[in-house]
Amino acid sequence: MQDFIELFFNLDIMAQTLPLLLKGFWVTLQLCAVVIGLGLAGGLALAVAALSPSRWLRWSAIGFIDFFRALPPLVLLVFVFSGLPFAGLELSPFMAVVVAFLLNNSAYYAEVFRAGLRSVPGGQAEAARATGLSPTQTLASVVLPQAVRNVLPDLLSNTVEVVKLTSLASVVSLSELLYAANMARSVTYNSSPLVLAALIYLALLWPLVRLISRYQRGLAAH
């Protein structure tokens, strides 16, 4: 038992490696801000395209969404980071992660937005257009707020997944939280930094997960 605590919950080592992990955590937060922001924007654009009356636009968007939802994100990331340099396109680890995640996240967020947009009755957009609102104004003021409200738990769930997936960036040596923790583990020959990293993820995501559950229960109660 003593060994177990020594190996996984060594407080001295945790305290010692905490500054390194917090640095990594800061990179994780920056990464999250960028990839979630871009993913939401890209996802919304794709969802609108996927519902467009233009067949060409609709099929392109659906093809894009299907392709990147079926492609494992790790494969995509390794391809962008290690595969593209053969074509002369060399990206920094951070940029490689951003590009790979933009492609992957947009596809996932697009599916959520698409479900949301379709859940808003057609009469809403029609009423807005009948009062002279442009298509963009109709989307921004009338349809999107209702769509987001209808799929908020799914948007949040997807966002939790994205935060967790940022740990993939460790594979391309981006010094985010997992990478920092693994470095600390190899330097200290002790697994406590990994446990600490897990606790930091937990502290970040648990409130969100709780919120989603409560929201879903609230919806079910209606």
Binding site: P121, E126, A127, R129, T131, G132, S141, V142, Q146, R149
Partner: protein, 250 residues
């Protein structure tokens, strides 16, 4: 003196694929007139109405609003035209995430570019006009169907339309709520609003309409004064329709 038409439909045709929904519709609605459109469901009434602000694209024919040929307007310039043609739907379609006041202000601010305070004043005036000033801060879901429809009327009126289109405005309402909406429409008529109304409220048509159009199978089958249409129907189709309606079948 005959007043000029505010809304004119000339040779309107609409097809969905091979199905002809409207055939050679010709209709003039003059300033201050209330024209009533009756007919069985599927007769093309609503489609005709929806062509008037191009929510539905006419296949051929012309629609003019105050001499502006709206069937010639490029799609991206439709928004300005639509403000001149107020539309009230069977299903109200108030924006559920906004207060009543915001519902009436939105298009004024976004489409008409009215300053916010001016839009609010106008919205409050319109809500008063439909008898709902005290509901300005309520959410649509807190209102009865009749109240929601009156807000929808206020929302359209706030844009100073030249003509108001009503697409079965009372069909989704409980019977006891119909009267409040019809009263607002009667008030509008008295104030000189030009209106084209698709509805099954025959008693209201008799009382308030200047002219009545009977449509069936995508055609205007008969038109005339309420006295002529209801008192002296000429065609078998209209006679059959009126007797079905009086038995409550339509």
């Amino acid at each position: 003196m005959v007043k000029p038409p505010v809304l004119e439909i000339a040779g309107l045709e609409k097809r969905f694929g091979d199905t002809v929904v409207l055939k050679n519709i010709n209709l003039k609605v003059r300033e201050g007139e209330l024209v009533f459109v009756i007919g069985p469901s599927g007769s093309g009434k609503s489609t005709m109405l929806r062509c008037c602000n191009r929510l539905e694209e006419p296949t051929s024919g012309a629609i003019l609003v105050e001499d502006a040929k709206i069937t010639d307007i490029a799609r991206r310039d439709l928004d300005k035209m639509r403000m001149k043609v107020g539309m009230v739907f069977q299903g109200f379609h108030l924006y559920p995430h906004m207060s009543v006041l915001r519902n009436v202000m939105l298009a004024q601010i976004k489409a008409l570019k009215r300053p916010k305070d001016e839009a609010e004043t106008r919205a409050r005036d319109m809500l008063e006009r439909v008898g709902l000033s005290e509901k300005a801060d309520a959410m649509p879901s807190d209102l009865s169907g009749g109240q929601q429809q009156r807000v929808a009327i206020a929302r359209a009126l706030a844009l100073d339309p030249k003509v108001m289109l009503f697409d079965e405005p009372t069909s989704a309402l409980d019977p006891e709520l119909v009267g409040s909406v019809l009263k607002v429409m009667k008030d509008l008529r008295r104030e000189g609003m030009t209106m084209l109304v698709v509805s099954h409220e025959m008693a209201f048509a008799r009382e308030a309409a200047d002219r009545v159009i009977f449509m069936d199978g995508g055609l205007v089958v008969e038109h005339g004064s309420p006295e002529q249409i209801f008192g002296d129907p000429q065609t078998d189709r209209l006679k059959a329709f009126l007797s079905r309606v009086s038995q409550g079948a339509e």
